[in-house]
Structures are given as structure tokens and as C-alpha cells.
């Protein structure tokens, strides 16, 4: 009897895994390998996608160097993940909600957060999270998984308010081990709420490899348990990520439920700039292997084949990025320092007695 049960369950898992083959449009040479899945993007849109990826790569390099000079605060490098981050974001509407993790700053900047505010957030200044009215984002989440349950709530809220918008959230392969990951997908599924869950599988949660996170062969298959759609995508292929997200968004808005998208990607740099040393947990062979899959090289080849990209164009973007970053740092530097009085003022709408007293105390101290 036991043998029979074992056999049955093994078979079922194998069957499930089969459904989650990696979705790809462009191979490493920038050749289209899945013509029928090609998204309908204009030449300008294709160029804009490339522009954003190049811009973000430069920004990442600058941010790392600014961090080393002590001119930025907390920073989680993004190089390698551009296709995953910007391809998925490109499929969104301006009014869609983004619930980012700490590494998902490019998406919220291209959603409308001014760059100098991103730098303020990095420095731990509240000016970085004073979002303009109508910019539908939340402060990047540090508690892994919290953004995922919150996404179910935003998605249900959008559905209740009859908005034609979705809520999208991002986490990593480590995040997919959290209880909140399951609760969030399960809630969104149960309410048929317009949510898209993106797991950027960059192979490591700080130092722990994805193979040690779970016995599941893919993260995408975890959607099965929640009864929602799941898909694994080549996360170095910007067109595939875009297309998968666009489809998920359409399905969500058509009332067909949430989707879990696993993007297979890699972070070239350290986990964060706070002393992480990737050579302790991965080999240079592995790094080289993934460098060959680079989303920028691949997409550049594709665009050059269509005469849509050139060295000049790329240099233009690089210069523009450097200029804007310089300006944004200046703007961030000019922002007045925050003080304890500000913080006390942000605790409640109507400050209770303890806050009132402490406000008085700090106002006196800090207005000197």
C-alpha cells in the first residue's frame, strides 16, 4: 500500500514539473526562438526598453561607487536583473500598483519616483518615501514576504473600487520560502484579485543557493498549490519577461486570477553593499556562465539586427544617465536634514499626550 502511495505522489510531482518549462523568446545570441510569442512592440518601444536597461546598468555602477564613497546609504545591486525588473515593469499601466522589495528600485523609478528620491530612500531620509499623489507605489519592503500579503490586499482593493489596474509585487527565490508568500498568493487566488507575483530567482538568498531553499524544482510550480497560474521565464530575456507579465496582467484584468512568474536571473554583484562578499558562496565559473546570458548583450544583438541600436545610441544613453545621476545626487544633497521633531510629527494624525509632550521637548531643542 505504502509503495503505491509513494509511486502515485512521485508521478504527480513529475507531471507538475513538466508544466513549468522555461519560457524564452530571445536566445543568448539575440535570435528569436519563439516567433509566435513575440510581443507587439513598436520600434520606439523596443528602443525604450534597451534605453532603460542601459540606463539602469550605469546607475547601478554609479550607485556602487557612490556607496563606497559614503555618499549613498543602503544599496542592493541590480546588474544582471535588468530584463527581469524592467521587462516586467514595461508591461504595466501608469496607474498599476507596485509593491517592491529593497532591490526593486529601478521599477519604481521608471514608474515615476524621481531619482533623487530613490537616493534619499537609500540614505534613510523620509523625503525618499514622500510619494507624489497618484504614484501608486509603496515604500520598498525590507521584511521579506510582507509585500506579498499586502499585494493581495491592494489587488482586492482595486477590484472593489472597479479600477482597471493590477497590483504587482517582487521578491526573490529566498522570499518564495516565506509563509507570507503562500498566504499572499492564496488570498489573491481565493478572491480572484488582479495580482501578479514576481519571484526573481537570482539563485541566491544572500549566500544560500536556491537548491537549499526548497525541494521544488521550480518556484513557478508553487502556484499550483494556490490554484493560480504559474510560469517560469528566462529572466535574462527582456522580451519573454515582458510578454509573460503582459499576459498575466491581461488575465488578471479579465477576471481570470493572479499569476506567479518566476524569472531565472542572476545578480552579478554583492547581495547589498553592506559587506557581502559573493566569492564566499559562488565560483567565478558560475559568474562567467551567467555573464554569457547578459540581458543587455542579448537584446543589443537583437536590436542591432533590426538596425534599431548602435554604439552612438548607447553612448548617448550612458552620458544622459551619468548627467541625471549627478543632478539627482545634488538634489538629494540639497534636501534639508530630517530631525526628531519631524519624526514625532509623523507618528499619528492627532498626536496623543506622550507625543505632544515629546514634540514640545524636541521642538525646543531643535529650533535652537
Amino acid at each position: 500500500m505504502r509503495g503505491l502511495v509513494d509511486k502515485l505522489s512521485t508521478k504527480t510531482i513529475a507531471q507538475v514539473e513538466e508544466q513549468f518549462e522555461t519560457f524564452q523568446i530571445l536566445n543568448e545570441e539575440g535570435e528569436v526562438v519563439n516567433e509566435s510569442a513575440m510581443p507587439d512592440l513598436s520600434d520606439e518601444q523596443l528602443q525604450e526598453l534597451m534605453r532603460r536597461m542601459v540606463y539602469t546598468r550605469i546607475w547601478d555602477q554609479r550607485a556602487i561607487s557612490l556607496n563606497r564613497q559614503g555618499r549613498l546609504g543602503f544599496y542592493a545591486p541590480t546588474a544582471g536583473q535588468e530584463a527581469s525588473q524592467l521587462g516586467s515593469h514595461f508591461a504595466l499601466d501608469k496607474e498599476d500598483w507596485i509593491l517592491p522589495g529593497y532591490r526593486d528600485i529601478p521599477q519604481i523609478v521608471f514608474h515615476g519616483l524621481p531619482l533623487h528620491q530613490a537616493f534619499l530612500w537609500s540614505r534613510g531620509h523620509f523625503g525618499g518615501s514622500q510619494f507624489e499623489e497618484g504614484l501608486n507605489i509603496v515604500v520598498p519592503q525590507i521584511i521579506i514576504g510582507a509585500q506579498i500579503v499586502q499585494t493581495a490586499g491592494v489587488a482586492l482593493g482595486l477590484k472593489r473600487k472597479k479600477k482597471d489596474n493590477i497590483a504587482i509585487t517582487y521578491t526573490g527565490d529566498g522570499g518564495a520560502s516565506q509563509g507570507d508568500f503562500y498566504e499572499g498568493m492564496n488570498f489573491a487566488g481565493a478572491y480572484n484579485a488582479p495580482a501578479v507575483f514576481i519571484v526573481q530567482n537570482n539563485r541566491f538568498a544572500i549566500s544560500v543557493p536556491v537548491e537549499k531553499q526548497s525541494a521544488a524544482k521550480t518556484i513557478a510550480q508553487k502556484a499550483v498549490a494556490a490554484g493560480i497560474e504559474g510560469i517560469q521565464v528566462d529572466g535574462m530575456d527582456v522580451l519573454a519577461v515582458y510578454k509573460a507579465t503582459q499576459d498575466a496582467r491581461k488575465r488578471a484584468l479579465a477576471g481570470e486570477g493572479p499569476t506567479l512568474i518566476e524569472t531565472l536571473t542572476y545578480r552579478y554583484g554583492a547581495h547589498t553593499m553592506a559587506g557581502d562578499d559573493p566569492t564566499r558562496y559562488r565560483t567565478s565559473d558560475e559568474d562567467d556562465e551567467w555573464a554569457k546570458k547578459d540581458p543587455l548583450i542579448r537584446f543589443r544583438k537583437f536590436l542591432e539586427g533590426k538596425k534599431l541600436w548602435s554604439e552612438d545610441k548607447e553612448n548617448e544613453v550612458v552620458e544622459q544617465a551619468k548627467e541625471e545621476i549627478k543632478q539627482a545626487i545634488k538634489d538629494a544633497d540639497r534636501t534639508p536634514k530630517q530631525n526628531v521633531t519631524d519624526l514625532l510629527g509623523f507618528m499619528f494624525e492627532n498626536p496623543p499626550v506622550n507625543i505632544r509632550e515629546q514634540l514640545e521637548e524636541y521642538t525646543a531643542k531643535e529650533s535652537k
Binding site: W97, I143, V149, Q150, A152, G153, G157, E183, G345, V353
Partner: protein
């Protein structure tokens, strides 16, 4: 005017707010068709529909996240945690997320959430149901913690909590749900959060209490009166941040105080109150401020609960100790 139990008064407060504001939503485990395990949401789903009053999947962290997301999209969630002993499953949402959201967003996003939950001892629940965990909440800046002691206050306080634009943890003592009735106006009224109420005036000692311990303290005050001592009983109602002004004014009048809480001595609210009294009114004191609390064990199994919880006799004893110091 209805002659209502506290459970009915709480239902009525939610009904009032559901009626008043489309954006108010009531949700949690079993709160819909079943009306909640204590029947506190009885009839609300029938009246307002499944869109406004609904059951959630069985996952507390999910419920907390749902509330946060709904608040971000313009709703006023009233979420129920079936028993407050289960707050640990949703601790991040409550103490880590909604409490600090206004601050994190530089005052641009708010969390108008009410977290309702039954708690409290003396009703012989299984483990992890009755614990007085308000101290954990009270130690969290950005949360208001409200604990009513009777039907009238419960209604007015809950309406205020739902209308508050900041998160409020509203704790309902299980023993008070149906142990007595009180006249409660059917019309709406509010009781300001952060204000204490003097439930009995007196000149010889101040007894500071909240929740079920208000009843116990009132009984103790009667006994003390028979012995010739007039105790002033303060019901904190909002236990965090608490109404330090009312407490200090009373202590300056009576020169003596005890603080009564159901929670263990090392938990709860009492220590904070003693500290404030010491800082602000030490020269008015004729005796140390003592605490009446449960002992510092884990919450006990049901059969020993009654011996473990504070009661009027112990309050009288402690009060006399302070008076005769």
C-alpha cells in the same frame, strides 16, 4: 436605548460604521455567515452583503496584509483576529508594518485599520486564547490600544477607532462579552481615544485599571468603602498611549495608587503607569505605587485560572497595604 451586552454594543458600532461609510469593511475568520465565534459580527453579512463583511482564508498574516493593502486603496478595514493569542501569526503586519506606515511614508500614506480581537482570562479557553498580550502592542510606537470595560464605552470607543486614521488595536475581554447588560443609546456617539474615565470618585487611593479588572476594582472599592476608605477608580479605556493627565491629577489628590492588570507582572501596562507616576508625582506620594497582577508564569491551563488571575479580594488587600504604609 437598548439594554445590551458588550457583544451587542460592539456589533452595533460596526453596523453604524458599515452604514455610514461604504469604505468600511469587516473581515476575518468565520465573521461572515457564522457571525464570528462569539457572534459579535452576527447579522452583519446579511445586512451588508458578502462584499462588505466577509470570511477570509485561515491565515492571520494574510488577514493583516489584506488590511494593509485595502487601506492603501482607500478602504477602512476592520479586521478580526479570532483570538488575540493568535496575534503572533500576524505580528509583523500589526507591529511591524501598519504601526510604522505613516512614518515610513513621510506622512503621505495612512493605515486607518481597526484590529479587533477577543482576549482575556476566566473563561476557560484552551491555551493561547486568553493571554493578555496588550503589553506587546503598547510597546509598539504608532499603535493605539483600546480596551473597553462595558457595553456603553465599547460602542463609543469602537466607532472612534474605526474613524481614526491610524491603526487601533481594539481588544475585547471575553468575560465581558455577555456577563452583564447596560443601557446603550441606539444613536451613534463617540468616546475620544486616549482619554481615561473616572468610574468612581474617591479621596483615599487611586485604583488604575482596564478591561475586566475595572469590574473587579469597582467591587474592591465597595469593600474598601465598607472599611471606611474611599477609592477612586480610573478606567484607562485607551491603554496606550494612556491618559497620563487624568492619572496624575487623581494621584495628586489621593496621594496613593495601585495599578491593576490581568497580565503578568512583567507584561502589560502597569509598569509604564508606575513609571509615569514616579516621574511626575513622586512628591505627592505617601506610599509606593503597587501593582496587582498575575504572576510571571506562562498563562496557565484552565483549571488553575481562577487562582492565578487577580480578584477583588487581592485588590482590597493591596489597597490596604498602600493605605496603611
Amino acid at each position: 436605548m437598548g439594554n445590551w451586552t458588550m457583544a451587542q454594543a460592539i456589533t452595533d458600532a460596526m453596523r453604524n460604521e458599515l452604514n455610514k461609510n461604504e469604505d468600511v469593511l469587516v473581515f476575518g475568520e468565520d465573521v461572515g455567515n457564522n457571525g464570528g465565534v462569539f457572534r459579535v459580527t452576527e447579522g452583519l453579512q446579511k445586512e451588508f452583503g458578502e462584499d462588505r463583511v466577509f470570511d477570509t482564508p485561515l491565515a492571520e498574516s494574510g488577514i493583516g496584509g489584506l488590511a494593509i493593502g485595502l487601506a492603501l486603496t482607500g478602504h477602512r478595514p476592520v479586521m478580526e483576529i479570532q483570538f488575540f493569542g493568535f496575534v503572533f501569526e500576524v505580528f509583523d503586519s500589526v507591529a511591524g508594518q501598519m504601526s510604522r506606515w505613516r512614518f515610513r511614508s513621510g506622512n503621505t500614506q495612512t493605515m486607518p485599520i481597526t484590529v479587533r480581537s477577543p482576549f482575556g482570562g476566566g473563561v476557560k479557553t484552551p491555551e493561547m486564547h486568553a493571554d493578555s498580550l496588550e503589553g506587546l502592542m503598547a510597546q509598539t510606537p504608532g499603535l493605539k490600544v483600546v480596551i473597553p470595560s462595558n457595553p456603553y464605552d465599547a460602542k463609543g470607543l469602537l466607532i472612534s477607532a474605526i474613524r481614526d486614521n491610524d491603526p487601533v488595536v481594539f481588544l475585547e475581554h471575553m468575560k465581558l462579552y455577555r456577563s452583564f447588560r447596560q443601557d446603550v443609546p441606539e444613536e451613534e456617539y463617540t468616546i475620544e481615544l486616549g482619554k481615561a474615565d473616572i468610574k468612581r470618585e474617591g479621596k483615599d487611593i487611586t485604583i488604575i485599571a482596564y478591561g475586566a479588572m475595572v469590574q473587579a476594582s469597582m467591587k474592591a472599592a465597595e469593600e474598601l468603602a465598607e472599611a471606611g476608605f474611599e477609592a477612586e477608580v480610573i478606567d484607562l479605556m485607551t491603554v496606550s498611549p494612556f491618559d497620563v493627565e487624568t492619572v496624575i491629577a487623581s494621584v495628586e489628590k489621593t496621594n496613593r495608587a495601585i495599578v491593576v492588570q490581568e497580565a503578568q507582572k512583567q507584561a502589560g501596562i502597569a509598569s509604564q503607569i508606575v513609571a509615569e507616576i514616579t516621574e511626575r508625582a513622586i512628591l505627592s506620594l505617601e506610599a509606593p505605587v503597587l501593582r496587582v497582577t498575575s504572576p510571571d508564569t506562562v498563562y496557565p491551563f484552565a483549571a488553575v485560572e481562577d487562582a492565578w488571575l487577580p480578584n477583588p479580594a487581592i485588590i482590597v488587600e493591596k489597597a490596604k497595604e498602600v493605605i496603611n504604609f
